[in-house]
Symmetry: C2
Subunit: 458 residues, 2 copies
């Protein structure tokens, strides 16, 4: 569905003509597309169109709605009906929605659910949202090893009314302890009398229910899994995490990292840009900006201390921004590369000496190049500038170039060292945000700059 | 396999004792883990251990090796054997490796392949690496609609010797034109005499062979697909892109975006941090750093123009870094949020007025807060500073605070507007890197700062 097609659907729905015909067409479309269209309608119109669909379709559409529209439907729908829709949802989508409700709303919903669903919701709500338990689905197929493949296929037929695909079929014992898995293809390929036991793969990958969700996503990625089984501390199979859930986790963690890196506070439930209010955006960014403006005091104080030097050699003021900028770039680039590599598991802490050494070499090359260009720049630009007696432009240019080169290298070391150090102390390296590094290297840059000027000239 | 277990495997292999026993154990492990172990061995040892495995296992292990180890095996293995391994690889893994060879190496490999594989390799090598055609696999299952479900199951049994899972089964006509898809579960659930035609889903999502790979990954993500069929301009099914390939694309594009955002040139084939040499790292970063240092000339020239003002009111120099820093932070944050939202498809160009307005509101709130804090900071810090006759500290503090507030807002507008503008002209918004924005807002910041100072004081 292209953006143009979506606009057409929206116009037709807004005109409110030929509604039955439109609904008939929408019912044939993938529910993700229907959700995408409906959510952009004015809120007064959404419930009417939404409730024209079957319970099952409404369950899928609700799962694909953003938080605001989910809550709209929740508040606008009679509880009994909503209970049916809720029960028809995938268990992990159900839980994602359930967590968005206030405690009183949760309590008010529960009586309208059948006992099994109610028990499951209460059970699953104990798991923190960012763990395997928090993102798993309880919709999976199991067989026991003693069955024949033909019997297993019959069991799968009976147990699987859900529209979703069967991913893997899990072999469990009478206590639901996970013993292995097979694919539909394995069942088909085997002769009907073969025992499941002979076909099952005993060498499987699983997650524990308390594992961090990012770890779960990495396992799914590493082993190219369609679904990953989740077991509790007794080895019993309690859920599965599917490949599409892994992609969602990867996307969310990626936005979180990038935002953290830029000094934006991550939020519990990352939403759309437009779904987040101005005030919410403000709250996410204010901490860092204010904190760093405060840190900027220190740079101000350093300049204050070197005020005399500045007054005597005003030309120094001209190149202050360049020192800050280049230091910021150099440090941020190093930090970016190192943080990404750590996130992808390509660097571990033991290797940090190698990493810092590599960064020193790279930045030394950059520093040399920049120093030469800076010499040329100063000599060319400031030939008519105001230089005090007793100093030649060449001398000044050399000192500035030297300071810049040093700044590039020290910034790279800081940009590399800071994430590694934070990680060593158990923190999240992405928190050592670009704004933090730029402000720190500003300070060191000013110290290097004025330090060298004072050393050579005063 | 934990890091500790991996270390143990490596030690055992290095000791070179009990080798047969170790190999027997490794043969039972997932090939991704075997590849992960072998690749960290010294290069002289890898081929010996590698060739202890079956052709099929060697194919999978080779696919999981990084580029360097793949080329090592290629050069160290007799061509006939390598041909067998190459043919046993998944078609998209084959092509990924094939693209890493020099043209002469490619030509030398082809004679050792069977005709069908050779034709396929030549056919697929026409597709650019970053398109659907470049990442698709040709291992898929097809049936014709006129078959019964029982006949379809038989066909799948016959056609599917590969160890990989059958994802979807595609319904095609006699010209291989794609008509729909079904799952194994659909086949199982139907009665054996039902025609495929009655069970098949005609409403399917597909990609064209020339689609950008990022678009392909987005489709797989949006529709929660296990695999996405790829068709050519005639509607014929030519390949599939699987969910794990989508995750790889998402990861690579993410690293690319983050690096672009920091002014690091993206490379064709993103590799490990350590696998990239110092010189390669340097080349990736040098362009931006030098370009921006050059742009720093302009800030220098602006300061030069306001040299007199600076000399008269040296206190202005103290707060220059704060203007630059805060502007850089503000602009980068806005840019980050906007670029991420665009990448996730949450903002389109039509909405850019809304976006800029939203950013103005957010930054206005930040600006107000910062201006108040800055007033306090200046009054507190610079009470003993060197102020020229005729001006009060309060006046100066107010002007600095006003300049800072304006800087925050203009930086946010620039940080928002630049990515949107670049996108409008068909470019990649992530290229408007943080270093670019920081340098530009430096320039505007200096103009605002000195402009206001001159306006109010001189």
């Amino acid at each position: 569905m292209t953006k143009f097609e979506k606009k057409q659907w929206l116009s037709q729905l807004l005109e409110h003509q030929n509604v039955d015909h439109i609904i008939e067409q929408l019912k044939e479309m993938p529910t993700i597309e229907v959700a995408s269209i409906l959510k952009d309608l004015p809120h007064e119109l959404i419930p009417t169109y939404y409730h024209a669909f079957s319970i099952k379709q409404r369950a899928y559409i609700l799962a694909d709605f953003p938080e605001d529209e989910q809550l709209l439907i929740f508040h606008q729908t009679e509880k009994m009906t909503f209970g049916e829709i809720f029960e028809a949802m995938e268990s992990n989508e159900r839980m994602e929605f359930y967590r968005r409700l206030e405690p009183e709303e949760q309590i008010n919903l529960l009586p309208f659910l059948h006992k099994e669903v109610r028990m499951e919701v209460l059970e699953l709500s104990k798991y923190p949202a960012e763990t395997a338990g928090g993102i798993m689905s309880t919709d999976f197929a199991t067989v026991m090893e003693k069955l024949t493949c033909a019997e297993a296929i019959d069991k799968v037929r009976r147990d699987a009314p859900s529209k979703k695909m069967i991913y893997y079929i899990y072999a469990v014992d009478q206590d639901m302890r996970l013993q292995g898995f097979l694919t539909m293809k394995d069942l088909i390929m085997a002769t009907p009398e073969t025992l499941v036991k002979e076909v099952v793969h005993h060498n499987y990958v699983a997650s524990e229910v308390s594992d961090d969700r990012e770890l779960v996503a990495q396992k799914i990625e590493m082993y190219d899994l369609v679904a990953l089984p989740v077991v509790n501390q007794f080895g019993q199979l309690v859920g599965i995490v599917t490949h599409d859930e892994a992609i969602e986790v990867i996307r969310q963690e990626q936005t979180e990292d990038m935002e953290k890196f830029m000094g934006i506070m991550p939020e519990e439930d990352p939403e759309n840009y437009f779904d987040t209010s101005t005030l919410q955006h403000f709250k996410k960014r204010v901490v860092w900006i204010v904190g760093l403006a405060a840190l900027g005091i220190i740079s101000g104080m350093i300049i204050h201390r070197f005020e005399d030097a500045l007054e005597k050699m005003i030309i120094l003021a001209l190149y202050m921004p360049m020192m800050a900028d280049t230091g910021g770039n150099s440090g941020s680039q190093s930090a970016t590369v190192v943080i990404r590599a750590m996130a992808l598991g390509q660097i571990n802490l033991k290797q940090w000496v190698k990493v810092i050494w590599k960064e020193i070499k790279i930045s030394a090359m950059l520093a040399l190049l920049l120093a030469i260009l800076t010499m040329a720049k100063v000599l060319f630009l400031s030939s008519a500038a105001n230089i005090p007696e007793g100093f030649s432009l060449l001398e000044i240019a050399s000192v500035i170039a030297l300071a810049l080169g040093t700044q590039v290298i020290t910034s790279a070391i800081i940009g590399t060292g800071l994430p590694l150090t934070v990680k060593k102390f158990g923190g999240d390296p992405a928190v050592v945000a670009s704004p933090a590094i730029t402000t720190i290297v500003d300070i060191t840059g000013l110290l290097i700059y004025f330090g060298m000027a004072t050393l050579f000239f005063f």
